[in-house]
């Protein structure tokens, strides 16, 4: 398999996942704000922070903060972290590797792209937002379903999965980072709205139901963090994503360097299960996890995409 093709398939996986997660997070965040009174001080700008894009956000200007954030994160094709842009990037990467991926997945991602360009503008209107984002999520899942259901599990598939797993782990860590940030800022919040924030974190990664089934019915901050970081059964928990990334690397030729990085994450996640994950520490831990995931990405690039870059 050509390195270039591998890289594009990997990015297809990442962008598809990013698109789906962006839609989920924005959708859930809109719901959350309806539950929190203004004096809590949780605003739309926090959402930009989740995406690590505070420095690129141009600010509200003429429009309300809500509209500005939604344009920035959803509908503006010129914004580097918008949903519509992620979908376009997924499509462009897939277009370059059409011969490797099932024809239906290409058709499906094309339809998704056309839908996104047409419909996402209306997410600034809160009456339409939920429905449009739901359709976006459903279409992302449709593409994913075609890939899972019709693709041989050779190298292209493993690169797709690898990109998807790393992106998903990264997104989950960002959701947790923000959910616990309010608590850090005002410990009092945890008493009043702890379960609302925990529920939001879970719902942002569609983990609410599985948490209740596999963990406990009560929403407790620390157990939520524990679940979203260390659970190996829930597919959006970080440990679970890391395991899938390890599996993909193990099926690819010469993946020792990325595997070493992934093993290090597993090792760290496994330590001190009781007291490591208090809300106060979460932010530092998430920063570290994001750094480690960045190292995995570097190792992947170096191993498979630009192996001769340092010649």
């Amino acid at each position: 398999m050509l390195s270039r093709a591998a890289e594009r398939v990997y990015w297809t996986g990442r962008y598809l996942e990013r698109a789906e997660n962006t839609a989920r997070i924005v959708q859930q965040y809109s719901q959350l704000l309806l539950d929190l009174p203004d004096e809590v001080g949780v605003g739309w700008d926090e959402l930009v922070t989740i995406f690590g894009a505070a420095s690129e956000f141009p600010g509200a200007g003429e429009v309300s903060e809500e509209v500005a954030v939604l344009r920035f994160l959803v509908s503006d094709p010129n914004s580097g972290c918008s949903l519509v842009r992620s979908i376009r990037m997924a499509r462009d990467n897939m277009r370059n590797t059409r011969d490797l991926l099932p024809q239906e997945s290409w058709e499906s991602v094309n339809e998704l792209d056309q839908f996104a360009r047409r419909a996402l503008v209306s997410t600034v209107d809160d009456e339409d937002r939920f429905e449009v984002l739901s359709e976006c999520i459903a279409r992302c899942l449709q593409v994913d379903g075609i890939l899972v259901g019709t693709m041989s599990h050779g190298a292209p598939y493993q690169f797709l999965r690898l990109g998807q797993s790393l992106e998903r782990a990264d997104m989950t860590s960002r959701v947790l980072d923000v959910a616990t940030a309010y608590v850090r800022r005002d410990p009092d919040l945890i008493d009043r709205f702890g379960s609302v924030l925990g529920t939001n974190a879970l719902k942002s990664v569609s983990g609410f139901q599985m948490y209740r089934q596999y963990c406990q019915p009560q929403i407790e901050g620390e157990r939520v963090v524990e679940f979203l970081v260390r659970d190996t059964l829930f597919p959006r928990a970080i440990a679970s994503c890391v395991n899938r990334a390890r599996f993909a690397c193990s099926r690819l030729p010469g993946g020792e360097a990325p595997l070493d990085c992934l093993d290090r994450i597993v090792e760290h996640l496994g330590q001190d299960p009781e007291d490591d994950l208090t809300a106060a520490d979460v932010s530092a831990i998430m920063d570290r996890i994001q750094q480690w995931l960045g190292q995995v990405h570097e190792a992947v690039v170096h191993t498979w995409f630009t192996p001769d870059a340092d010649q």
Binding site: S3, D99, P307, D308
Partner: protein, 484 residues
């Protein structure tokens, strides 16, 4: 001859299927009978079936429009264009003769330059051609062959004579559409194929792969040589074809960035398992974009050092850089002499009569008759920079008058051709439309020619423009055996 109740008027031009007497030509009788039974609704329904098959198979081409690029469904007219087998045999012999002579010519130009010393072709024509590439001098590729894939454009004039219009020795495209057209028409009209003997075209990808293997460096010949198709990428209008050929040959489709030349002057592609040696590159990018080290420094599409690896004999390039020197339209005018010089034979297929503006007498003649002639620049392709005398304004005539006087070497002129026609579905009825034919000729260790080629048809009434980007369509091309 009537089609769907209406008289088909083949008009003043030579029609490929219907004779002047209004009756189908012998090789087209079965075809004409089949379509004559159809009412307009049948024709429309069959055309819809053709269009649907094309959409389902994803046969597309790319057009550029306002910076965006769009994949469009490939336009295919449902009525095939047929030619008799014995006529084709003669054309095929003519193409083989022509390509063989042209390859001897190119090899001579970059080495001994005998034909120039013997003053059959003036040396200044070659030395002033921007397609004569200095980095290619003093080298001879395997088998002495430079143009491995040629897409000769043929046209038929009003008297029924078939002429060579252009040789296209660089990166001719269209062969994938020839193959796909046949696939589609076979699906939609299977019964026609059962009752007629039509020469198959489907083995082209195999022939291409065999030809490419035959030019691999000799040290690679023991194993299966690694063959790749080099494309400029998805934004190229022929990307569908690049991808199609790579897929049907089982070759890797690569871009410039996938390849590199190492210190050993060998070419490698970057794979997830490390560098992998490449033996043959079927390149679909222009000569001068191929290697920024040897040609255009600003090329982002090429591979630095490719020419070095090629000259060291470590990789084969098809077509070889520099083969475009024989695409110069002034050189074209000498091809009949070139055939006589190298093969000692008379040309089987004539050239379109051509005036060279570099010759003062020719120039005078051309300047006095501009409104009747077609004037072409020597080194453009795709119809750029042309004057079509009868359709041009007085101001354009005046402009070309000046251009020709300023730079006569770079222009040739030809009579306006009465291109032949064939019945084509237009607004529900069959009408004559002008067409041409592009067969593909492969030369490596051996020579082979496609049975027929890609027929391109101008879909607008009276138009001579067959380019798909400008509203042209295509037809399946049948070489029909009559002795059955």
């Amino acid at each position: 001859m009537t089609f769907n109740g209406q008289d088909y008027e083949s008009g003043a031009f030579f029609d490929e299927l219907i004779g002047r007497d209004g009756r189908a030509r012998p090789h087209a009788e079965a075809l004409a009978r089949y379509f004559a039974e159809m009412v307009p609704a049948d024709l429309a329904q069959r055309q819809a079936a053709v269009d649907r098959t094309i959409a389902d198979m994803g046969i597309s081409f790319t057009v550029y429009s306002e910076g965006d690029n769009i994949d469009r469904a490939w336009p295919l007219d449902l009525i095939p264009r047929a030619m008799p087998g014995d006529e084709w045999d003669r054309i095929e012999a003519g193409l083989v003769q022509r390509v063989r002579a042209l390859n001897l010519f190119i090899d001579d130009l970059y080495n001994d330059r005998r034909i120039l010393a013997d003053k059959v072709v003036p040396a200044e024509i070659i030395d002033s051609s921007r397609n004569y590439l200095a980095p290619c001098r003093g080298f001879s590729p395997r088998h002495g062959v430079w143009a491995h894939v040629t897409g000769t454009d043929l046209v038929r004039g009003g008297d029924g004579t078939v002429y060579v219009l252009e040789d296209n020795l660089r990166v001719p495209s269209g062969v994938s559409y020839m193959l796909e057209n046949r696939t589609v028409i076979k699906r939609v009209f299977p019964s026609l194929f059962r009752n007629l003997r039509i020469r198959p075209v489907g083995e082209y990808p195999t022939r291409l792969a065999e030809m490419l293997a035959s030019i691999a460096p000799e040290q690679a010949a023991d194993g299966a040589p690694e063959i790749v198709v080099l494309t400029p990428g998805i934004y190229n209008s022929a990307y569908f074809e690049h991808s199609f050929l790579a897929r049907t040959m089982g070759a890797e489709l690569v871009e410039g960035g996938d390849l590199f030349v190492d210190d050993d002057d060998c070419v490698y592609m970057r794979t997830i398992e490390g560098p992998c040696r490449v033996d043959v590159i079927y390149r679909r990018i222009d000569d001068t974009f191929m290697d920024p080290e040897a040609f255009r420094k600003d090329s982002m599409l090429g591979v630095p050092g490719l020419t070095r690896a090629w000259r060291a004999g470590n990789v084969a390039l098809a077509n070889a850089p520099g083969s475009g020197v024989a695409d110069d339209k002034v050189v074209y005018s000498y091809v009949p002499d070139i055939i006589r010089y190298y093969l000692d034979q008379d040309p089987i297929i004539p050239n379109v009569p051509t005036w060279r503006c570099s010759d003062p007498q020719h120039l005078e003649h051309v300047l006095s008759r501009l409104p009747e002639l077609v004037v072409k620049p020597a080194n453009e392709s795709g119809g750029y920079g042309m004057l079509i005398g009868p359709q041009a304004t007085k101001a354009e005539h005046a402009r070309f008058h000046d251009l020709l006087n300023a730079d006569p070497r770079n222009y040739i002129a030809q009579p306006t051709l009465d291109l032949s026609t064939a019945p084509t579905l237009s607004s529900g009825r069959l009408e004559p439309r002008h067409l041409d034919l592009r067969p593909f000729i492969l030369q490596g260790a051996d020579l082979s020619v496609t049975a027929g080629g890609l027929t391109r048809v101008a879909m607008r009434k009276g138009s001579l423009v067959v380019n798909s980007s400008q509203g042209g369509g295509s037809k399946d091309t049948w070489i029909v055996e009559e002795n059955r």
